[in-house]
Amino acid sequence: MSKVQIKEESDIVKARSVAKEMARDLGFGLVDQTRISTAVSELARNIFAYAGEGEVYIETDWDHRKGIRITFTDQGPGIEDIDLALQDGFSTAGSMGKGLPGAKRLMDRLNIQTKPGEGTRIIIEKWLDK
């Protein structure tokens, strides 16, 4: 497992590099490695853009599943409407609104826990044993 603090912009690059490396070591092919690092980049940027700082936690073993699981945690403003946030093109940060819906398409599972005013936790998974 590995942990990356998101405090500045270059930490986004760090998070996606670490995730990609772990995915590769685990046996994911190049396309999946690219999907994973891209999803991490989108969600780590969301932390930076919306909450200012947070944490990315990457693990490769949980519940007897083989794959990679990445947890993004912040104490930012939270997400008001999850369904809306998962729609393509919706953004409150002036960006393209591809981050959340895109990450969901790139991964096998995406789970959001959020409370307005308290923060957000997003878990994404990609499985080797589908």
């Binding site: 912009e9 270059s10 590099s17 190049l30 396309v31 690219t34 891209t38 940027r45 393209m96």
Partner: protein, 148 residues
């Protein structure tokens, strides 16, 4: 912030060549956009080849920055061609739901260079025709006879 290694922009005849050899963070992407536009206006370059073959991922931010740069460059009368995108990157971009808009792409620098030359030739042909039509004050789309 460390890695502020600048990305060289080379001039070759009327074109610029940029090869991105480092993992781009957001501010670097924005800086690169500015530098490319600045060099276009400084040199009057008519086209830019941006080699991204070393980029292992293109997320929505980088994708948008590239697409925006191409749009801005075209207002400066320069064409941008993105060269050498890795297949895994292309697959991921589409799944992410991102299109690079009207940005032209090419497999290799060679092909990109050829494409730029073709586009410039096409544009100058069109310019010539417009001028002739303008001079004669004729509004028709008949082909001009000379110049071939």
């Amino acid at each position: 912030m460390t890695q502020s290694a600048s990305i060289p922009i080379l001039k070759l005849k009327e074109f610029l060549i940029v090869s991105i050899q480092t993992d781009l963070h957001d501010r670097m992407a924005e800086q690169l956009q500015y530098s490319i536009l600045h060099r276009i206006s400084e040199t009057g370059a008519k086209g830019v080849l941006i080699d991204i073959s070393a980029l292992e991922m293109v997320d929505s931010f980088i994708g948008r920055t590239l697409a925006d740069t191409a749009k801005m460059a075209s207002t400066l009368d320069a064409d941008i061609i993105i060269v050498g995108m890795q297949p895994a990157v292309a697959i991921t971009l589409v799944e992410l739901g991102l299109s690079l808009g009207d940005v032209k792409t090419a497999i290799s620098l060679d092909e990109g260079y050829g494409l730029l030359e073709e586009m410039r030739a096409e544009e100058s042909r069109n310019d010539d025709e417009e001028e002739k039509v303008g001079d004669a004050e004729v509004e028709s789309e008949t082909e001009s006879e000379d110049g071939k």
